[in-house]
């Protein structure tokens, strides 16, 4: 493969009382969609925070992260971040228009007027109905799904080349989740962004990713093209994640849909 956008070598990260990532080596390629999959506590968010420069000050960090550009991408300019919880992305006392325009004004050096027009277009782009009205609304006036659309608009306002989505759909119900996943799919394709998609749901990863990395207990257990990982996993843990997935074709635990 070509040169990686980012090469992570032997990365370990610890918090005060525990190790969160151990000996992680991983390449991220420009324009790819890399899914990081694993159960809660496996270190997925720690990797996301490390890449985005969001680790707490007291975190202990060892190893090497090398970006092909020679410098760490700046959060909010080169790298957009979408959190699970929109209260981490959106300021509750700022109008939607202001928060989405803010990133564009700062990083694209737009006037407020131009940034506002850009923000309005972005809201339309993330398929917020009636963007004019939403520009003047506050986050709490929107549903969870609409808030996540706004958070995505804010994350891409500066036209970053990298987007990290950390469980961006996990707090949403399945119908809204499918809508947001489809939106991310479109946005990332249009702008040829590199996407790092973090999820505990391997089925979700199967719909979005080019490559899948499986984490367990702070270690990378397996990485490869999505089709390989999903159809012929080598690791026992990956197999158990795939087998444990329930969908509408799985065998029910009770005799199907019959009265007792």
């Amino acid at each position: 493969m070509n040169n990686p956008l980012c090469r992570i070598t032997d990365l370990s990260v610890g918090y005060r009382d525990r190790t969160a990532l151990t000996g992680l080596s991983l390449d991220i390629f420009s324009g790819e969609r890399l899914a990081i999959v694993g159960e809660s506590g496996s270190g997925k968010s720690t990797l996301a925070r490390t890449l985005a420069g969001l680790l707490p000050d007291d975190a202990v960090f060892a190893g090497d992260i090398r970006w092909s550009s020679g410098q760490t991408p700046s959060l909010g300019r080169d790298l957009g971040f979408v959190f699970q919880d929109t209260s981490a992305s959106l300021n509750p006392v700022l109008k939607i228009g202001e928060q989405v325009a803010e990133g564009a004004k700062r990083h694209l050096r737009m006037t407020w007027q131009a940034a506002y027009a850009h923000a309005r277009n972005l809201l339309e782009h993330v398929r917020i109905p009636n963007p004019e009205a939403v520009m003047n609304a506050y986050p709490h006036q929107l549903s969870g799904g609409q808030r996540q659309r706004v958070a995505i608009a804010a994350a891409i306002a500066s036209r970053p080349s990298i987007l990290i989505a950390d469980e961006a759909t996990s707090a949403l119900d399945t119908v809204v989740q499918a809508q947001i996943v489809a939106l991310l799919d479109t946005l990332v394709s249009e702008a040829a962004m590199t996407m790092i998609f973090i999820t505990h749901d391997i089925a979700l990863a199967s719909h979005l990713a080019d490559r899948i990395a499986v984490f367990k207990d702070g270690r990378l257990v397996e990485i490869g093209p999505a089709a390989d990982i999903l159809s012929s996993p080598k690791d026992e843990y990956t197999k158990s994640l795939i087998e444990g997935h329930y969908d509408l074709a799985s065998t029910p635990l009770i005799s199907a849909g019959r009265r007792p």
């Binding site: 809660s40 609409q146 119908v175 499918a178 999505a226 999903l230 795939i242 509408l248 009770i254 199907a256």
Partner: protein
């Protein structure tokens, strides 16, 4: 035999500036030993329905008959006795329990309140219940906050079945759990149901989970029950728009990856 029947239930919230009808004209029933799954988007009224059934808030209108009694007019001793027959398991166990309480205290609480087991036998009963949900009896002395999410949910189940209820209301009880842990809990619930002949009202936004455990389904949309039927009938041929949206949004694992992507995108709803 009908265990629970709900007729024309209605509940409205009055909050700053606007009224929300959270449950409207809801009618359904649950047979003994049956699991009724309630599916619906977030905000469709599922949790309000759970709170109304459990008597955590009164409905504005409607009728609930539980074990042949008019559930809403029960008072005093009768209410207390009957309450022990309907228990609950919620998503956020830590929120529902006293955080520093031990596992033993947490499980023993309903037994104490409802006096279903004489005092000298309570420790033995707690050990039996722990074993019943797959935990060793030494868990009794541990504080709840020390437990993993799956262990806490097992404690919640032990507590719920402690009074030998005929109905357990589960509101997103497995939604916060990792897949493997979730599956073990679902298996435990199905096994307990078979052995104790309990009914479940199983609430989830995840149709795949509901399909695994429910004999029948009810689909909620904007406070109304828009469809009820046998699980396989609804999954195969949903009749309501909300049912179709839920079926379409339930992700399959695509073994070939995203080249075979079939994500469906319905129009976003505008709700400001």
């Amino acid at each position: 035999m009908t265990l629970l029947s709900v007729e024309n239930l209605r509940r409205r919230y009055v909050s700053t500036g606007r009224d929300i009808v959270a449950v409207e004209n809801a009618t359904f029933s649950i047979a003994a030993g049956e699991t009724l799954g309630i599916a619906g988007a977030s905000g469709s009224g599922k949790s309000t329905m759970a709170r109304l059934l459990l008597g955590l808030m009164p409905p504005d209108a409607g009728k609930i008959t539980f074990e042949g009694q008019d559930w809403l007019s029960l008072k005093g001793k009768d209410l207390r006795r009957q309450r022990s027959r309907m228990q609950m398991v919620f998503q956020d166990v830590l929120g529902a329990f006293h955080p520093t309480a031990t596992v033993g205290e947490t499980i023993g609480d309903p037994i104490r309140v409802h006096r279903t087991v004489p005092k000298p036998q309570r420790t033995r009963e707690i050990a039996r219940l722990l074993e019943r949900v797959g935990l060793s009896s030494d868990f009794a002395g541990r504080p709840v906050y020390e437990l993993s999410g799956g262990q806490r949910q097992r404690v919640a189940i032990a507590r719920a079945i402690a009074t030998r209820p005929s109905l357990v209301v589960l509101d997103e009880a497995v939604s916060a759990l990792d897949v493997q842990v979730r599956n073990r809990i679902l298996e435990l619930l199905v096994e307990l149901q078979r052995e104790e002949n309990m009914s479940y009202l199983f609430i989830s936004h995840d149709l795949a989970v509901l399909r695994a455990v429910s004999h029948r389904l009810a689909i909620m949309d904007a406070g109304r029950i828009v469809e009820t039927g046998h699980t396989s009938d609804i999954i195969e041929q949903p009749q309501s728009a909300a049912g179709r949206a839920l079926v379409a949004a339930t992700l399959r694992l695509m073994p070939g990856g995203r080249q075979t992507n079939t994500i469906q995108q319905s129009e976003p709803t505008y709700d400001i």
